[in-house]
Symmetry: C2
């Protein structure tokens, strides 16, 4: 029996969507138990499912910026993480404050041996369908060469296990492909990664090639990763809105838009922020997924699918071996 | 009589496109003299235009990475810049090595008083048509709060003069809109800019909103700006290619694509890399425009338009006054 815990406080749409997504997911997966921790009193339950457990805990962080205090508070997020650390659950999902989440996970669950800084890592689908791991996307603004090297190792193992890829193609994102370009720490990271025989390094890549499906793993500092991810999101949405607005002005283009609708639906499904909205916390000893505060039922369902799959593939024990590589 | 000099070495498409674009431009502007410096021997000239002057100089930099040596070489780029400094020309355009260009301009032309670091600044068209100045996009990876403040002042004046905008809306690009987010230098820059009564600061913006047309000037470090610009370029091109590829698979969507064609042409024209490909060098005492190495005739024509306009509006004397603000 797999066991997933969800911290259900902190989502724009409220707690009900967690219940609905979990209920729907459990209908398809009988070897799973889901625990929802948070403000459960207003949740409208459907039928009594034995493997869908509600735990009431209204407590949110008093001040998410005060990490020291936050770690001590018995919030729904901390209760969920503690449950995972104590072995009650196999993985945790939360839509709460990112900073509190990664701090609490680092402190309570601990870092994987040899990993100095946990990071956020979304799974992105390139336009040719290839799955791409991008890390970090915002947890670590300032980084050292070793951080990038460690994430490269974790993400490569992740790619191998989750997508069944042998020797994942790994790149460092930089402002140019020439070896002499970029910050010193990026060049030093490139040299560390190149000399690591467990990694299949293909050199620097530019952010303009992110969605072309040319690699499996892309490593970058948290500042750069955050800017890139949000630029892509912004560009695609702006471009789509702009086509729509412009097309609706004339009958001919209106018909064109109607005929092209299946194409747009298909592409937007690939690039859906509800998939990108989820990011793995890598580098800690537990399976932990962060979902966007604006997540809806579909986004939570997608997060449950990822977590279920990770537990099924025994991902965390493989990641814990990274130190020995 | 306005006088523009073009360094015509260093373009993927060769020297002829410079001549063709200049010839075309001069047909529409009789109060202008254009000088082309570079490998002129194979240029096919059309008719003898008095105000289109060719100066042969085959010399390129021996090693663009060796800045000290490059500054001394009598390359076409250096000859063009020296001509501007000596007052022979009102502005320079080059498609050569970016690093050499900005170094040579800084050294030979000098910095505007009070400006410590020149930067690259492209003009971008948002999807609602609003013109946006983005700086820096790659000249300065590491920055200080003062650098961001100085660029904010230059770009605001630029926006006022070139686009006739009163109190341009100015933003700092950051990983979040909350005041406590981001690097310390960004927060310090925010405080400097907020306290500068000559600037109309609207707070932090995220890179996802770049093309929404919410501001006139966006300031960011060169590393972030470079990643953002290339991400937008990559996203738009990938999205467009993907629509096309997917649409061509079925007759219905093929027709849809055909009907929507004018919409795509319209939007791509707005977002055309041949416009974004050009970036102003701000912070030096001369008018200098950098064009992309892959520029074609249209891109050069567009650069000539920008430079002609800047000379016409006496932009450089307004920028030189920034120190007094």
């Amino acid at each position: 029996m797999k066991r997933i815990v969800l911290d259900i406080n902190g989502l724009d749409l409220g707690e009900q969507v967690f219940y609905d997504a979990s209920y729907e997911f459990l209908k398809k997966h009988s070897d799973l138990e889901i625990t929802l921790i948070g403000n459960t009193q207003y949740i409208k339950t459907k039928e009594d499912l034995k493997n869908l457990i509600l735990v009431n805990n209204n407590l949110k962080f008093t001040d998410p910026k005060n990490i020291r205090m936050s770690l001590k508070e018995n919030t729904s997020m901390n209760e969920a993480i503690t449950g995972v650390v104590e072995g009650k659950f196999d993985g945790v999902i939360s839509g709460g404050d990112s900073g509190s989440y990664i701090s609490s996970l680092t402190f309570k669950s601990g870092r994987i041996e040899g990993i100095s800084r946990p990071a956020f890592m979304p799974i992105i689908t390139a336009l040719n369908g290839r799955k791409l791991l991008l890390t970090d996307v915002g947890a670590n603004l300032e980084v050292k060469p070793e951080n990038l090297h460690e994430w490269a190792k974790l993400a490569s193992v992740f790619s191998s296990i989750m997508f069944n890829i042998k020797n994942p193609d790994l790149t460092l994102l930089n402002i140019g492909t020439e070896e002499y370009k970029g910050f010193e720490y990026v060049k030093e990271a490139a040299s560390l990664i190149k000399n690591d025989s467990s990694l299949n390094y293909i050199g620097f890549s530019e952010s303009r090639n992110l969605l072309k499906g040319e690699f499996d793993v892309a490593i970058v500092d948290g500042y750069g990763g955050n800017l890139i991810l949000k630029s892509y999101e912004g560009a695609v949405l702006s471009f789509k809105d702009s086509i729509k607005e412009s097309a609706l002005k004339k009958l001919k283009t209106k018909i064109g838009l109607l005929l092209l609708k299946p194409v747009f639906i298909d592409i937007m499904k690939k690039l859906d922020y509800r998939n990108i909205g989820a990011a793995w916390v890598i580098g800690v000893k537990s399976l932990a997924l962060k979902i966007h505060g604006s997540s809806d039922q579909k986004a939570i369902y997608s997060a449950l699918t990822q977590m279920y799959d990770a537990i099924d593939k025994n991902l965390i024990s493989e990641l814990n071996k990274v130190k020995n590589v």
